[in-house]
């Protein structure tokens, strides 16, 4: 699960980029994405990508793992790039490099900045109510992820996905997700009751000071 892995990298590693102010990192990432969008030269895109890879090394992040995550969006981009072959191979590579560039920028941002810090910074632009939703979703992902791991074991014990038995496989898959949804709903209800008990007023307070230079 990429979200969990990126969160682990953001919270467990220490580097210059990890302790860089969050607001500046977000602005820098947006400028970089804007540049990648506007550039039409392969060479410049390669240079930017090289710069991003350098930052990955400097930040002491696992290069191969990050590279693999950034390759994921290429699966879909390939369809678009293939359909755009009429514009020539240059355009084909520009599309792929843009995907790699923007994906790597986002991954670099989230692997050096904990999600709560990003959400707290976004609180200056988005309404507080929305930030609360982001925080809760972030927390829910990890709760569901642990449930999902257990379900996966149960799913395998029930036969998992078998090509010879597609009906049974689909039924198992649907039941696994049905159970995940039910467990999720129960947990969300329990979570809500806990929040109300602690005086939840539709807003979760967060400490922006945690996400500054002196954090570590």
């Amino acid at each position: 699960m990429d979200v969990a892995f990126l969160d682990y990298l953001a919270t467990s590693r220490k580097s210059f980029l990890h302790s860089f102010p969050v607001g500046l990192k977000i602005i820098f990432s947006l400028i970089l994405i804007g540049t990648i969008i506007l550039i039409h030269k392969i060479l410049f895109l390669v240079i930017i990508l090289g710069f991003l890879y350098l930052l990955i090394f400097v930040s002491r992040l696992p290069f191969v793992k990050i590279l693999l995550i950034s390759l994921y969006p290429l699966i879909f981009a390939l369809i678009f790039a293939y359909a755009s072959l009429g514009r020539g191979w240059e355009w084909f590579f520009i599309i792929l490099l843009r995907v790699l560039g923007t994906a790597t920028t986002m991954i670099l941002l989230f692997s050096t900045t904990p999600y709560p810090c990003i959400f707290a910074s976004l609180g200056r632009v988005f309404p507080e109510f929305l930030i609360t939703v982001f925080f809760m979703t972030y927390r829910s992902i990890f709760i569901l992820f642990s449930i999902f791991e257990n379900i996966r074991t149960g799913f395998r014990l029930r036969g998992g996905i078998q090509v010879k038995h597609p009906k049974r496989s689909l039924s198992n898959f649907a039941k696994a997700f049905g159970y995940l949804i039910l467990k999720g709903m129960d947990d969300s209800q329990r979570f809500y009751e806990g929040l109300r008990l602690r005086g939840f007023q539709g807003k979760i307070e967060h400490n922006r000071r945690y996400c500054t230079w002196n954090r570590r």
Partner: protein
């Protein structure tokens, strides 16, 4: 798969900005409902469904270029207004690891919102007509995915339109030199070097998306139908 897995920089700026504006408009429309229910258990429920959708969208069926969305199930349980918010949260989190560009989050949220909202209304209607949750779930999911994928494809098609030529301010508008009433002709025909910009092969793109997508829709329809049947069996009344 119904949402646009396009990277940043492919669609024109006016289009993705329009996506963000439309999404903001939807939030503004439902602002009252969000304010009214912000202390309710809807927020943790929304967060949980957003998490379920993020997990399901992270599970790639690589040979099919497909992942399940579970947007119809989420739409049915959350209801239209809260589902719009849910789809925005999901798309923003997915963009954090490169699953869809950050600029197209607005458009993607709109496409997924259409999917969930349509699924909600279709399921409510078909449940009464077909009287079987499994069939109602399957049909409403397949139709919703068909419509939302068509919308996503429509957005890609619109993205090919150059606004400068559409509104007649671009190069094409001046291709034919006007001779005017007095016919002061120079004899030299001004030749305009027409830029030859080979087109993006939309038919090829359409065939690939619909080809892979149609298998995915049936698969997702079956899974959604199974989930809804399971939910109704284990906790009757949850789908009311």
């Amino acid at each position: 798969m119904s949402h646009i897995h396009l990277p940043d920089g492919i669609l024109p700026v006016w289009l993705w900005v329009l996506g963000w504006i439309l999404l903001a408009g939807l939030f503004f429309i439902f602002k009252g409902q969000f304010q009214k229910e912000k202390f309710s258990s809807k927020i943790p429920l929304l967060a949980m469904f957003a998490a379920v959708m993020v997990i399901s969208m992270s599970l790639e069926i690589v040979p099919l270029f497909y992942h399940i969305n579970l947007s119809v199930v989420s739409g049915i349980i959350l209801g239209p207004a809260w589902f719009i918010l849910c789809s925005f949260v999901v798309n923003l989190i997915l963009a954090s690891f490169g699953h869809g560009g950050i600029t197209v989050v607005g458009l993607n949220s709109l496409v997924i919102s259409v999917e969930g909202i349509l699924g909600y209304f279709l399921f409510k209607a078909l449940r009464r007509i077909l009287r079987k949750i499994s069939w109602a779930g399957f049909v409403s999911t397949v139709i919703s995915l068909l419509v939302s994928t068509s919308l996503a494809l429509g957005i890609v098609a619109i993205g090919r339109i150059d606004l400068s030529t559409t509104f007649g301010v671009g190069h094409k508008f001046h291709q034919e030199k006007s001779t005017g009433l007095l016919k002061f002709e120079t004899g030299e025909k001004e030749t305009h070097k027409q830029e030859s910009l080979p087109q993006f092969d939309f038919r090829k793109f359409l065939l690939l998306i619909l080809g892979f997508g149609s298998i995915g829709w049936i698969l997702e329809g079956l899974i959604t139908s199974g989930i809804l049947t399971y939910l109704n069996k284990v906790r009757p009344g949850i789908l009311e």
